[in-house]
Every structure is written in C-alpha cells, then in structure tokens.
Symmetry: C2
Subunit: 343 residues, 2 copies
C-alpha cells in the first residue's frame, strides 16, 4: 500500500533481472542475443510482474505497428441496425484477427466522402495499420485514395476496379442466374428484381447476370428496379410494383431486409405468398427462417468472408504478396416463399 499501481515496464523487468533493457527486449521477443537461462529468468519475472507490452510504445518504435485495423460502413444509418450483414462480417473479421492480437476499429459514416475523410485521418494519425473496404462502387474513389495515403487495404468486392488492391470477390451473377432459372422453372415470367443502389459493383454484376438469364429464358418482361437496402424503400418499391396493371409474379430482392418488407406489403395488399407471388431474398440471415412464410434466399457464409478477408489483410501487412480470391458461390435455399402460381 502507499505505492500507486503502475504498469510494469521492461525497465522494471531489467532491474529485477539485473540486465539491460535491450536484453529484456530480446528475451521477450524470442530473438537471439540472450542465453536460454537468462531468457527463462526474464520471462518468469515478466509473468510475475504481469507485464504486457505498451501498444503505443511498440507502435512508436521505428517500423512499429499499431496493431489495429479499421473498417468503415456507410450505408444509411437507419438500415444499419437491422442489416445482419455487417455484424456477421465483423464477427468473422475479429475471429481471424484475435489470433494475431489485432483489434478492430469500427466507424459508421454518412457517405463515401466522410468515409474517405476517416481513412485520411486514420492514416495521418497512425490509428490503424490497414483497412478493409466494403461495398465497392463503380468508379470507386477509395482504392485510388488508398494508393496516395498510403494505407494498406483489402477490398471485399470486385474483381476489377480495385486499383490494384487485393480483393475477395463473389460471382453474384452466377447466383442470380440460378435464381432466375429456378423461378422460370416454376412457371414465372414476370420477374422483377428489387436491387441495391445502382453504383455498387455487386449490384451491377447481379443486374448483368439477371438480364442475361432472363434473355436466355426468354423472359422479355424481366427487369430490375433500384432501392437502397432499407426496409422502407423495399416496401415502397414493392407496393408500386404490385399496384401495376400486370404485377410481377416473382420478386427477387438484393438483401433480406427489403425482402421482409416486401413480404409485409404483399400481405397488406392481400397478395398471397407464394400462391400469387414468389419472393427470393439475398443474404440468408436468421430473419429469413423466422418469418412466415419463410423466405427462399441465397445463402452465403458472411462470417467466413470476414475471416478470409481479414486473413488477406493480415498477410498484406506482413509484407506478403496477396492474390485475389473468389468465394464459393452463394447457395439457393428454397423455402416457403417461392412456388408455382396457383391462381
């Protein structure tokens, strides 16, 4: 008592062991320069003292790393809470980072400009060692900004348009083609896709796959309309579509939140799912299994994507060369919200 609790430093260890700071550093980092007996003595003292390296000090030393990576999400704040995607991704990312003792900084941004501002600040203030970029856009300004900063980055999305940054990408076009074939086989011809924002690369890829499959199946009336991933927009769009003279018989949504909203609107308008309308969701979260009818969805391992992309960034930070990587295809999970027309 009396002495104020203070974090032990390597200097404390050095004094207790009767050696110099440098020797302690070598011992603790498993580097040559100390004898095995000395190393063990130092490690034991360090453990007795409850020593842990000061992260700021490590980061400050020449060539030091901050031991944290950053992620910025800039979808509309309103939808963020419900969007299962990000928390699952975050869980996966952290699982991978935890092993390396790396932390995750999370920021929500209003738009892509404030997102860039966050990256600039993080780089200037040395807050993070690298970042994971999500929701790649068409002509995305972020990859090129990363080149200037410089802030090592890995992109979730692509391929293409990543400005040389390593990326983890998915062939969404293939998944959407499977959905169209599935719906066409059920007899649907008026299929409309309620998509995410037009300037996302994966939206564009899905749209291309959708059009191609529709043309292939001879569905002249298939088309894509855009919304913004929020339940509100999904509901509004669905209401408009179902009120048309010849409403679609099948709707394909780009996330599960809009699909859920669509299901609600159909019910409100007296349109039965699936006998009068089939609904397919993207991003098969638990939501899809909770509602009635349960939602047919394209299921991807978002948690796994997080692990992989974090691993890629880790290796990039370690100075290794990192190749682009493709994820397994999303799998169509047929459930109660799709079926043949029975009118």
């Amino acid at each position: 008592m009396g002495s104020v609790m203070r974090r032990p430093t390597i200097m404390d260890i050095a004094k207790a062991a009767g050696v110099s700071k440098g020797a302690v550093s070598y011992a603790l980092n498993g580097r040559p320069g100390v004898s095995e007996t000395t190393r063990e003595r130092i490690l034991s003292i360090a453990s007795d003292l409850g020593w842990a390296p000061s992260n700021p000090a490590r980061a400050l030393a020449p060539g030091g790393r901050v031991g944290a990576i950053g992620m910025v999400v800039d979808r509309p704040a309103r939808s963020l809470g419900i969007e299962p995607f990000f928390m699952q991704l975050v869980s996966g990312v952290e699982t991978e980072l935890a092993a390396a003792g790396i932390d995750l900084m999370l920021q929500v941004a209003e738009n892509i400009d404030s997102e860039l501002e966050v990256y600039r600040r993080w780089a200037a203030e040395r807050r993070v060692d690298g970042v994971i970029i999500v929701d790649l856009r068409v002509d995305d300004p972020r990859p090129e900004a990363m080149g200037v900063l410089p802030l090592p980055a890995v992109v979730l999305g692509g391929p293409g348009g990543t400005g040389g940054l390593p990326c983890l990408y998915t062939d969404d076009g293939a998944s959407v083609r499977e959905v169209v074939h599935y719906l066409a086989a059920l007899g649907h011809r008026r299929i409309v896709r309620v998509a995410g924002p037009e300037d996302f690369v994966h939206t564009r890829d899905r749209t291309a796959g959708f059009q191609e499959a529709a043309r292939h199946a001879g569905l002249a009336e298939a088309r894509t309309v855009h919304a913004d991933y929020t339940g509100e927009a999904g509901g509004r769009t669905t209401r408009r579509l179902l009120a048309a003279a010849e409403p679609p018989t099948a709707l394909v949504y780009d996330n599960d939140l809009m699909a859920l909203a669509g299901l609600g609107v159909a019910s409100e308008m007296g349109v039965d799912v699936p006998s009068q309308l089939s609904i397919v969701a993207w991003d098969d979260s638990a939501l899809c299994r909770l509602v009635r009818p349960s939602l047919t969805a394209i299921s991807r391992d978002v948690f796994g994507h997080g692990r992989i992309v974090a691993g890629m960034l880790n290796r990039l930070l370690a100075g290794e060369r990192v190749e682009d990587r493709e994820t397994p295809l999303g799998e169509l999970q047929p459930r109660g919200s799709t079926g043949p027309l029975t009118s």
Copy 2:
C-alpha cells in the same frame, strides 16, 4: 521525386519555421508560450505540410491518452447479426465520440470470461482509454474487475450493482407495467412474458415490474419464462406456450427478434394475431414496422442512449465527476399485433 513520402513531424515544422520542437507543440495545442504571429506562422506551415499528430506518440507521452474507447458485446454470436440494438448503440456512441476525435474499438466475445480477458488485455497494453459496459448482470463481475485494472468505465444499465461506476439506466419496470395495464384493458388475462436471460439486471427489473402489475390487475396466471434473445429460442418457447391446454392470449417479448419469431410460430400454428393472440415487442426497431401485422412495441431511443453514455465516458476520462443518469421511459407504440380477443 525520389524522396520517399514520410509523415511530417513537428520537427519538420520546427525546422521550416526556424523554431524549436517545444514552440511548435505550444503553438499547435493553443497553449501560451508563443506569440500570436509565430503561432499563425506555425499553424500555416503545419497545414501546408499536411501534418497531423501521431497518435502513438501522443499516447506515449506522460499523461497521454490513446484516443480510443472500447466496447465488448458477448451475446450469442448467432443472434448478434440481427439484433438491431448494438449497431444503433454503436452509431450513437460514435456520433458523440467523433466530435472529440475518439475512435471506437469493437470486440465480440463468446462469454463474460473472455470479455473480462479483453478488458485486461486492453488495459495492460494500453489499447483504450476506457470502456462502455453493456448488459449488466446480477452480481456482475465486471464493475469490480474494472476497479482493479484500472480502466475507466461507464455502465449502460443499473442502477445498483455497478460497483461505483457511473451508469445510464432505464426504468424498464415502468414500461412493462404500462404494457400489462394496456393488455389487461384489452381484456387479456393469460399474459406470458418471454424474457431475456435471467441473470441480466434489466431482465430482473422487468420481471419485477411485470409481476407487480399483474398482481395489481389481479392476473393470477401471468408469468415469465426465460429465453436467450435469439429468434430460435423465441420461436421454440412460443410454440411450447401456444401448445398448452389453456394457451396465453397475449405474449410480451423482451426484444423484437423473439417477438418476430413468435409471430411466425403463431402463423404456423394457425393462431391469428391479433384476434386470438396479442404480441408486444421490446426495442422498437424498423423490423416491427416491416412485418404484418406490424408489431406493437416499446420504443426507446437506442441511438440517443449511445450518445449519452459516450458523453458520460468522455467526461469521466476528462477527470470530471459523472453522475448516474436515467433515460426517458420507453414508449408503448400500439400497432397491429395487439387488440381485444374476438373469438
């Protein structure tokens, strides 16, 4: 060209301005010790050079702060993705922190022990300046652990059981009493509450409020059963309750995810909502408005809670004395999922 891009330091500024490091530091921090003309010259040079303070260096200096706070969430990873609560809370927290230039570290943990391990590591390695503790338990080990570490902390929950830590609390008992009165007024007598885990303080508070209101309204059959906030558990519990000989006519859920699952199960079992069963959710997220029937819910300003609790932590870190604070009561939002029995 040829010169490698290097972050500018205050030494670079000092050289350019022809003054010492110390003078630059005084100028940049708005402290006395430099003339107004010199200060302006230094600021202008700093801006020209694109200087920003190195966070590790600032943190390392005596009395320096890391400029980051941490938050650990340890609900079951499965439910995390859909639980709107956390992302809304995070948004609110960050909005408040952004103004002070503070970052947020987020960690997901499997259980309360690994959560404590994270706090210990953060404190030992000086990763964060303080933490926000959520989901306070009965006999929670965390407040007391914080006293030892030492890591400044603010609790979202309580009051009581916070071991002296400042807290932001809600009178959940009052809200649940309002719900019971509302349902009783609609004619319901067999009301069951599907609650969160028993060892959460707010679960216990709600249970107490629920029992008191039930006794007051003469509802002998009202009771509480416990689940774990996941949709799966909410659905399973609902199925069991509705299969009983004399099933409840109203269910009150502790979050909206379980309420959503309950709604699905009711539909699956052919129980109409609201004519045969009324459903009330807690945490009024957009989900409640998207499904049909829309869910009556207790609405709270989770985003606002985040702002307030972050502000409290900020002031605590600044050395100010912080008082416990109560949030406004959650408001009952009656929607389509509740009504009188019409059997």
